[in-house]
Structures are given as C-alpha cells and as structure tokens.
Amino acid sequence: MINASDFPILSRKVNGKRLVYLDNAATTQKPQVVIDAMNRYYTNSNANVHRAVHTLAGEATDGYEACRTSLKAWFNAPRVVLTSGTTEAINLVAHGWGRANLKEGDAIVLTEMEHHSDIVPWQMLSKERGVELRYVPVLEDMTLDMDAYTASLPGAKLVCVVHTSNVLGVRNPVERIIEQAHASGARVLLDAAQGAPHTRIDVTELDVDFLAVSAHKMLGPTGIGCLTVKEDAFAEMAPFMGGGDMIDQVTVEGSTYQENEHKFEAGTPRIAEAIGWKAAMDYLEQVDLDAEHHRLLGIARWTAEALRNLGCTVYGRHDDMDSAVVSFLHPALHAEDMAHLLDAQGFAVRTGHHCAQPLLHRLGISSTVRASFYLYNTMEEAEGLVEALSHVLERFGGSA
C-alpha cells in the first residue's frame, strides 16, 4: 500500500474532523510529486512547446512529450493524442473519426451503462448525420445483456462501451465485446476513465481501436487526458479543431496538417498538466496495481456487506475484476441528506445521478450515494464510514 502522507490534502480537516476522501471515482487526490512537478515547470521552465528554439521551450517540449512517451509505454499504444480528458477524447472520436467515416443508415452501438460523455456526443452526431444509435440494455444482475449486444452488431460501424461503470464498478467483458465487434466489422471505443486507474490496460493486446482516459482519476491533474488510437484507425481520422500546433503549412489558399498526433492538438496544449501527469504515471509505476486492486476490492466488498446490514440497498456486484465503488441508498434517508450528514463528519462521498441517468433510470432510481476507494484509502476508513452512517441513521430516523 502507498503512503497516505504522500498526499498533502489528506492531512487536512473538514468540519473539524479528519478528512476521509471517498470520492475517487469523481477525481483522485494528487501526490506531492505531481504538485511539485507542476510547480517546478511554472517556476523554472514555463514556455510554449514545439516552436521556439530557446532553452525554456526545449525543456517545456521535452516535458510535454515525455508524458506522451510515458502513456504510450503504459498503455502499449501506437498513438496517444493528448486531450482535455475522457470527454474530449470521446468527442474527438465522434468528430475526428465519426464525421469522416459514418453516414446516414450506419449504426453505433452504445450501452445503458454509459456515462453521459459517451452518450451525448453520439446523440449529437446521430442528429447531424442520421446515424442510428442502438443501446444494449443492463440486466437485473447489473451486467450488460450480451445477447442483445450480439444482436445489435449487424450493420454497426462503431461500438462505444464503458470499460468499468462509474456507478456500479462493474467491469464489462471488453475482450469479448471487442472480438465480436471486430468480427462484425465495427471499430470499438472504450471509455476507460474508471478502468484505467484500477488496472493496467494494454490496448495492443486488447486490440481496441480507441481508448479514452482522464489523468485526474489516476492521481494526475485535472484538464488533461488522452485518446489512444490504433494505427489504421488513426489514418481514418480527420482533424476537427484547426489552428496552432496542428498545422504543417498555411497559405491563404489553404492549409496542410501535421501527420502525427499534433494534428489533433490544436492550440497551445496543457503543458503543466502533461508534466504533472507524467509525474503521476511515474508514481503509479511504483505501485503494484494488481495487489492494490485486490486490497481495495476487499474493502469495497466489506463495506457493501456492512451497508446491507444497516438496511441499505447496494448497487453493484463486486466481482473480481470490478472496481472498488460502492453505490447505495437507505430507505429512511435521501441520498443528498446522507451525503451532507457524512460530510459533517469528515467523509467525502458523492451523490446524484453520477452522469449516468439512463443507467439509474434502468435501476428505477434517481440518485445514489457513492463511496469510491483508491490507493490511499484504508479498511479503517471504511469502518469509519459505516460507523458514521450508523450514527446518522440512529440520529436521523433510520433503523441502524
């Protein structure tokens, strides 16, 4: 297990109580090395990347590109486009690949488990291009209906699936999904915002065409993420944002574009954020993610069981490959009330629809309380959460 003291924010108090941060599926905290790397860049090396020849520009460029190199190695990816996050990465596929390759009558397969970021861009494209959207339902056991998935494939050009659900923690059978999609002639986009922080994903081994990731959910800064792209899919993409770094030559008659990933990184990029993310990746390299996954899943399973014993309904199954997310509700107290009362005791949890309204609609609910665990969380913190919740239920009318 990593050292919580690497994360300065974790020593602060909230409402007079020690902070217990359990909103990691929304964003993770940052280790001091990430904060230092970004500080160092602004203190010593701040310059724009790629164009100038002076020393600072060289340092900034090296720092920015080192992030890409690190991500290529981490994901075993031939192409890594740096974006503002998972949402922009998905939008890049919609605009950069979708507009160039999809036409009226084509179909895109989505699932009811998707985050809004993997629904709305496709709805917009569907409206613009007349592309059909097919949604794979979620079953009672909170897994995807794979028979419906198989049936949805004929005629589909693209399959967009969340690797791991941000609400349920359910890790989808992405290997099978990709294999079937490719056999049917469809490309696959995986939303790995929740999966990538918990497990090492090898995109070449998975043979996935596009993978979207956010840095801030894996110890990095906000405002940066990436899209990994397979070479042949990369060749099918056209830039959708023009200007700045993405050009080769510009004349009044027209422009030519860069051939590499820069083609999709118009404007001055997120340099400090890339440097911060590189520092986060270096930090994660030192962590045994498999061992941590098992430890955190153990905490999540214990928490889910303890919450059930308090009368809560828990949404999720916590299978071996699922992430350490525990979504729950109690009949005696609204999710929003519960989150406020837990915050009063120092516990940061999330409430609401978690940007997955179709999934919550399928579950017949409008919100959940979500506790999501990450590397610095401990069993003692989970026990504290259950104790605090028990206290809340006793005091505010629940049946503890």
Partner: protein, 138 residues
C-alpha cells in the same frame, strides 16, 4: 427588515456550534412550509438543478406572499421551511428583504454558488425572480 420568525430562527442558529445539530435544527424546519401535495408537483414549479425532487409554488394572496413546497430530501424541505419563515404570509417588501446570506447563516451548505449539486441557490433565485415580477405587478 426581515420577517420576525426568520430573525428568531437565525438568532437560535447562531447559538448552535455543532454541525450535526444544525442539520437537526434545519430538518425540523421542514414542517414550517405549507405542503405542496405531490399531485401539484409540475414541471413548472420544479426546482431545476436540485439533486432531490423539489417543487415550490409562490403566489401573491391579498398582498401577501404565499409559499407552498415539497422535496424528497429533508435538508431541502427544511431550507424551504426557512424560506417560508422569511416570506410566507409577509408583505412583498418584507419577503424581499430575505437574501441568500440568510440561507448561509443556516450553516449547513458548503456552497451557495449555482451548481448541479446545489438546487437551493436555484430555489432561492426562483423565488426572488417571482417576487421581483410580482412587485412589478406582472
């Protein structure tokens, strides 16, 4: 000059230091707003941006503000009660003296900036806009 019932409650809140006790106090204010029956919950009176289901009706009756509301979260219902103490049955000018700072004094919300998690600010803005319109005779 704010309504006397609101002034009294704010004075009582000032003496409560423990945050959990404040929640208890605000939850109890849920009874202070006239209930808007669920069948009267419409999209028109829905408080947009609230995580919980919340509906609020503002009317002017014989020159006095008339509030009814309902929410599935007790905190939101309690804060509706606080609004009712400052506005219900009051002449327009007294109701309009209540500001968002009076909700801050309840000391239970971390932010009153409009956001997805914070329908309370939306709720307050919704009422003040209606009161503004009423004061112009709309």
């Amino acid at each position: 000059m704010i309504a006397a019932p609101l002034a009294e409650v704010i004075e009582e809140l000032a003496d409560i230091e423990d945050r959990m006790e404040r929640f208890e106090f605000i939850f109890d204010l849920a009874e202070d707003i006239l209930a808007l029956p669920i069948e009267a919950w419409t999209d028109e009176n829905r408080v947009k941006g609230c995580q919980s289901q919340a509906h609020l009706e503002v009317r002017l009756q014989d020159g006095h503000v008339h509030l009814r509301g309902g929410a599935d979260a007790r905190l939101v219902q309690g804060l509706m009660g606080l609004l009712a103490l400052g506005m219900h049955g009051q002449p327009l000018e007294v109701a309009r003296a209540m500001t968002v700072d009076h909700i801050k004094e309840a000391g239970v919300l971390n932010s009153l900036t409009p956001s997805r998690s914070n329908g309370v600010r939306t709720m307050f803005d919704m009422i003040t806009q209606e009161l503004e319109a009423m004061s112009h005779g709309e």
